[in-house]
Amino acid sequence: MESSIFNANTTPVLEQVVNFAQKRHSILATNIANQRVPGYKGRDLNVDRFQKVLAEAIEHKNNPNAPLSPGGLVKTKSGDPMREVRDSLNGILFHDESNLDIEKQVAELSKNQIMHNMALTILEDQFNLLNVAISERV
């Protein structure tokens, strides 16, 4: 019972998703705050890369001797998708040499928020399940 709940892929995966979404939120908030700074270029975290690394980590987890831990994702400094900030939105370059599409930024923020809340809701459900299991036993 214990192993099936704690060792399930989902909890650590969801934790990573929440972590990533929170980091990305602060980057996107930076874009909104800096929208009127001349020459400011929009920044973003690489979602595709994060999902690829996460998928690889889940695959890796199927190997029983290698648990999915944050070590595979967060603690490695180089190539860590949570630190890899890049210029985003190669769109129109405005007269002040900034390239921020405010609509796109807000849309990205909303998507990010939905992803964050979705992951948390699933996580919460799992903990509720765990609570039920514990209370049944007592």
């Binding site: 930076t30 909104i32 929208q35 903990f127």
Partner: protein
């Protein structure tokens, strides 16, 4: 998440500063003397913003700050008013009065833009609060 709040707050402060400057420009659009009673039309001011790395995180998020407030160097508007007590007495512009170089259209468009930018920062703060609430629900 707390950093996101700080970043959005820096955005709010920067945009409010812009609005204050615009209000000042509009309020002074007829000022012919400065605060020290020296003759000379008021000059429109512009707020220059820049990225503030002071609250930068490892993942590259950063705030915004007011770098400087610069005066507009456009020539003042001159109106032919020879009977005005402050009319220019001699030279090429004799009989003209110099008025501030505040362009109303420009100021209003700027004000509207600053308001929208302020609102979008408030929106981000709402999102941050929502996400933090959701995260804290795990503890409940």
């Amino acid at each position: 998440m707390i950093t996101s709040l700080d970043i959005s707050t820096s955005g709010l402060i920067a945009q409010r500063e812009r609005l204050t400057t615009i209000s000042q420009n509009i309020a002074n659009m007829s000022s012919l003397r400065d605060a020290n009673n020296r003759l000379g039309p008021y000059r429109a001011k512009h707020v220059i913003l820049e990225t503030d790395n002071q609250m930068a995180t490892t993942s590259g998020a950063a705030g915004v700050k007011v770098a400087e407030i610069r005066e507009n160097d456009v020539e003042p508007r001159r109106r032919w008013e020879p009977n005005h007590p402050l009319a220019i007495k001699e030279g090429r512009w004799k009989g003209y009065v110099e008025y501030p170089n505040v362009d109303m259209t420009e100021q209003f468009v700027d004000a509207l833009e600053a308001t929208r930018a302020y609102e979008s920062n408030v929106g981000v703060i709402e999102m941050t609060k929502n996400m933090t609430n959701q995260t804290l629900r795990i503890l409940a």
